[in-house]
Symmetry: C3
Subunit: 425 residues, 3 copies
């Protein structure tokens, strides 16, 4: 049953072909597609040159063509075939060069000779052509025509945000990024999952918390967003998740927050422990995505990253091999289930308190076997042990961690006990 | 040398044949025997119907006869042979039935086909016959006469308590239960040991703490007792021990308190560590006896359970195989020694403070070798290391845990240092 | 490159032949040699009989001769050949005795039959001759002349101290001892290393902290010193190191402070972890040198001991085999490097704080690659991770422990970031 997984995969497939960068029309096209699912999404443009903390929003980059042509007029590589062929933010070029000179502008990944690597040069004017090591080695002495039709202009950086209100002003925060060209897991997967989580949250009959989703270009986008919203977020965000590389079907991963001890860390670790056979918990030392900004000193938001195989830890990462075959409906389904469980755990993460002294008599409420015999205590382990720890000090995640029952099961137990007026909270 | 062990065993043997339940004459007979040893014991009756927290004291149950007779007038089972044959709190019955109907009222333990299991139905009217699986399988088609001559009446629940005063109002608390019919380790052993501990404590020339012993029916008895005494106990009890299954001669066990960090936990773990070759420390998750009530949220007494093999962890548990052969004088001797060591550790568990700055000169007091040579520091390791940690922050158990010396040896050291006016506290 | 190691070794060699004890001319000669290197050293005499906490400064001991002569006039042993032959603080003796009587005054180390053991009897009048077990076994029946020409007189105990002022009154403290006769590692090595550390510190262009070095007789000397200085030291000392057995070239060792959690513990463990392939961290339970006094309750100075192979843990310890062959320039060089690294770590152990919100843009400052591609984040791991934790809560040692970079490298990073005005502190 991968109903949602299939839908998420299909959305990722729509996003895949678009050539994105940290600014430009690709970002806007992407946001328009996402907005078809979550119409309340608000799209914001931040003009080039705007100061955002220690940074400045760069000029906007767009590209229409890019290729290398040999003297026979054959295109050795062409941006139209794969947008990874052109280094992100390449300045325009139109020049005839010999092979030796051409090679100075070619980038490959020698350790993976069949793939095109993904490169960018956002903050220094440069241009480059990316291809496989094999392709480069096959180039003959010749005169080559290097062409990049791109434009760097005063424009803007574009991001999307969505706030789904809840009973409380306290917020659960999700961030994902929309600045990578045609790579599937990193990063068509994050926005696609985020959209379906937002839909699911919108459909909840009640919401304790407010939910904030942001779809930003990595680094400069999260910095720009924070520069405008960090104060309100510091007041309100109680847990946050950066979604990245969530579409493959290998093990699960998370990157802890700066000190590894926030509610986000606790909630995600708890769910991984009970529901995922294989998972990795990386310390913040292994960070690399927008959790860097959210956890920066002074920002101090409780944000962890959630991945299947973590960015940087799979060979296809940042190459043309990170394509739609690398991700799958099953992979998305798993990510979707983990994150909905995390949200459910947070929504119900109250500190209940038992209302009677000593153990309540569960038997008279039909919650305990009437005949007492060896072994029967095991059957009511969950309910009696839950009752032992609802002393007002432990939230549901803490009890789950302690007693070895997933939060899902504790929610059922808590509901039964609420019905019987045995706990409050 | 199992002098006390033999005496405790003999007392357990006197208790063994009595048919006990959570109310009734068996409880009273048991308490009368205990009172022969500890005459100050006060016996209390709590009337049926009394509200005790979330519970109500049930009607009093007594039984005079119980059997199944076949058409030849042979008794298939008879309460007189083994009181486990009748489910506890069985209502009266006198009926002729065919085998098929009879079997609906027969309880066995199929996994242990030779033993009679122990069952009760305290809070729902029911009746039942318990026998071995083998015996059940040998029953032929026949007309059987089911007879139980029992009575459920407005009566009372009975418990015993004993308070041995000390210099301080602060209390050390012991609880054990007296509601099980003829099973030896669970639970003739607990009351028998408790009596001999009470005698030993009464004989101490000085007592820093007050000692409270309670002999209660499990669950309803401890709840009834707490409903009357929990406020004073919350103020005074600094450590408490539930005694159960203390007569076998296998490894030692304890069940931690709710958070595993009380003085009781520390004291018992310390003694187990230094004096018992094999022991198990179970978390509170593995609880199952009256520590459940004493540790309940809001009650919050610092109570752990002490056992040899823990209840529920040996195959004889709650069957007819838990008989006088399963327990032994050696088993009791070990338990007695552990618990007297625990009491001694608590009695002396002061925070001493050294009275001089830098190391005192032990040599001039005859506490240190006068010739200094390689290796001699080892001989005075205990005294010098004790001195290093009597900084007013550590109690004796903490120092023992840290420096690797049993509390017994630290008591000797502390006495020498007190005599030399080197420590206070 | 063992330039300093060779110099330290040579100084130890000068100290080696002198017959030292806890008082007397050997201590003074030793201090005079040290003063040739550190002329600001102040030498203090504490008169015999002075009360120092629980102790009293003993009479001063000096010795000119000591031997055993057989009836042929051959000296069996002679103090002139090895000053370990006479038990420290032996009273004078001049007596002719038979072998049986002689043996009562002979001390050997039977487990190491070829070495002369080191013994003392400071606080009880006694005399003794130390020799190898083999030598003792070769003694024939004969009349022997036992001679010790020693003197115990009202005199004084001598110690040296050196204070090197820094910007702050806060102090880093070093202690070593000068009371052992001809043994090389224990203890010509400690004073020799201390002198070269003091020289190095004096040569620093800036010093954040004040440095205090003391050269004292063990136990009575440190107690005497503390009795006069402990109050100011309690106010000022932030870290302290007892130097002992620092000349052999085996693994490194440290003895923790009383609770193992002071700045000294943290600094030394950090340096050992990053710079020493093999090292042992002993708990305070394994103490045995002057760290005992500095860590005593009420004194509470944050002092650890630093050794190569710890005192008591090598077979040559406290025997004639602890000679100049057991120590080496390489051994000293290693100790010198560890301790200078520790001092450097302490000097720079500030809590820096990043001055911008979110990650600073390192690229525009030349601190980050301009082309972004797979794997390049690793190259800037140190600088970005350092920035993530300079939140004002962590000192440099804490960051080093956390992120896996030695403090040396963090100092370089911090300097670059200070130059770029990105951190303060």
């Amino acid at each position: 049953m991968v109903i949602q997984g299939k839908q998420i995969y299909d959305l990722a497939a729509r996003l895949f072909p678009i050539c994105r960068s940290i600014t430009g029309s690709g970002v806007r096209q992407t946001l328009e597609i996402l907005k078809q699912h979550i119409s309340q999404m608000k799209i914001t443009e931040v003009p080039s040159g705007t100061k955002v903390f220690d940074w400045e929003v760069p000029r906007e980059w767009n590209i229409s063509e890019g290729y290398i042509e040999n003297s026979s007029g054959e295109r050795v590589i062409d941006f139209k075939e794969n947008n990874l062929h052109i280094m992100g933010y390449s300045v325009p070029v139109d020049a005839y060069v010999q092979l030796e000179e051409l090679k100075k502008h070619i980038y490959t990944e020698p350790a993976q000779p069949t793939v095109i690597p993904y490169l960018t040069s956002y903050y220094k004017e440069n241009f480059g052509f990316c291809m496989s090591e094999n392709q480069k080695n096959n180039l003959q002495e010749d005169t080559y025509h290097m062409v990049i039709k791109s434009e760097l202009k005063q424009g803007s950086l574009t991001y999307g945000e969505l706030v789904i209100p809840g009973e409380s002003k306290e917020e659960i925060f999700f961030s994902t990024y929309i600045c990578h060209p045609s790579m599937a897991n990193n990063e068509c997967s994050g926005p696609a999952l985020a959209v379906y989580l937002a839909e699911w949250i919108s459909g909840l009959t009640s919401r304790r918390y407010t939910y904030r989703f942001v779809f930003v270009p990595e680094t400069i986008g999260s910095i720009a967003y924070l520069s405008r919203h960090w104060k309100e977020m510091k007041n309100n965000v109680i847990a946050g998740f950066n979604l990245s590389c969530v579409g493959d079907n290998d093990h699960y991963s998370m990157v802890e927050s700066r000190y590894g001890d926030t509610l986000s860390d606790r909630a995600l670790k708890n769910v991984l422990r009970y529901h995922c056979e294989e998972f990795m918990v990386y310390p913040f030392l292994k960070r690399g995505s927008d959790e860097r900004q959210y956890n920066a000193p002074g920002i101090d938001l409780p944000v962890v990253s959630f991945c299947r195989t973590k960015y940087g830890e799979y060979p296809q990462y940042h190459t043309s091999a990170d394509n739609m075959d690398y991700i799958s409906p099953e992979g998305f389904q798993g990510s979707y289930e983990v994150m909905t469980k995390v949200i459910r755990a947070l929504e119900c993460n109250r500190k209940y308190k038992v209302k009677v002294l000593c153990e309540p008599q569960l038997g008279k409420r039909g919650l305990y076997p009437t005949v007492s015999r060896k072994g029967q205590y095991d059957k009511v382990y969950g309910i009696t042990t839950f009752l032992a720890y609802v002393d007002g000090k432990n939230d549901m995640i803490a009890i789950s961690d302690r007693i070895g029952y997933p939060v899902d099961m504790l929610i059922d137990i808590a509901e039964k006990l609420m019905e019987n007026d045995l706990i409050s909270g």
